[in-house]
């Protein structure tokens, strides 16, 4: 089965990004496909490569980057939600005249159309949030 995943709450504050991570690993292990994960609302904060949790805690962003690279999962961060919350890739930083960018490897910034497209193209859409 093709499963699309939405993460709509921020890392560490909320368990959504962790639960989704374990869900995606289990789904892949069970022979399902997870072509895309879409980050929305505060979920976009997962994509910051400036995240530095204490060393004895899980690193949520690194976990997602590694999982995406291993299984070729398309990690899409909503551009409108990201810009509100100060998350920019290099292109957007240049376009907006900002002096820094912070999107981690494995994530890409794109539009809400990617969320709708995922809903159309997958067999199930599973949201992790409040």
């Amino acid at each position: 089965m093709k499963i699309g995943v939405v993460i709509s709450e921020g890392p560490y504050t909320h368990q959504a990004a962790d639960t989704a991570y374990h869900f995606v690993k289990a789904a892949l292990a069970g022979g399902h496909e997870v072509p895309r994960v879409f980050f929305y609302h505060d979920g976009v904060n997962v994509s910051s490569r400036l995240t530095i949790p204490p060393q004895d805690e899980r690193h949520i962003q690194n976990n997602w980057t590694a999982l995406a690279q291993e299984h070729e999962i398309d990690l899409v961060v909503c551009i409108a939600a990201a810009q509100r919350r100060g998350l920019l890739d290099e292109n957007e930083a240049n376009r907006q005249g900002k002096d820094a960018n912070n999107i981690a490897d494995g994530f890409r910034i794109s539009g809400l159309g990617q969320l709708i497209e995922m809903g159309i193209q997958t067999d199930r859409l599973v949201t992790f949030g409040d």
Partner: protein, 135 residues
């Protein structure tokens, strides 16, 4: 893209205390371009999103409630409002904005987009969908 699916956007939060209502509306507007079979559900505190005469000057946040009246122009014409959620909050249909759409299949007659349903009917509506996005 030829596939048409039934999309339901479930709105459960009051409009300004959190960003869910606004960012839900943004998905609905973008999603309209994909020509899917779209419905919106308003329940729990989500019914407050539709109240009329919203004034947000005092909190310094943009009043986005007029946008709901424009949804008909995006072919979003099915806005289901849960009766129990209204009643539990002391609201009636008269407290909500009038939201209309022009029915292209009926000589462009103006019709109300708000459809008041019971909790049980809302459950059936949800069960009938292909994709449910909850905000």
């Amino acid at each position: 893209m030829s596939t048409t699916k039934k999309f339901l956007y479930v709105n459960r939060k009051a409009p300004y205390g959190t960003i869910y209502a606004l960012e839900s509306l943004e998905v609905v507007l973008i999603g309209a371009a994909f020509e899917q079979d779209v419905s919106l559900a308003f329940l729990d505190d989500g019914v407050f999103q539709l109240t009329k005469d919203q004034k947000t000057d005092g909190i310094g946040i943009k009043n986005f409630s007029p946008t709901y009246r424009a949804l008909g122009d995006y072919d979003v014409t099915k806005l289901y409002v849960e009766k129990e959620s209204l009643a539990e909050r002391g609201l009636t249909a008269e407290d909500l904005q009038e939201i209309m759409y022009e029915d292209e299949d009926d000589d462009w007659e103006e019709k109300p987009s708000l459809r008041f349903v019971t909790r049980a009917e809302m459950a059936d509506i949800m069960a009938d969908q292909d994709v449910v996005l909850s905000f």
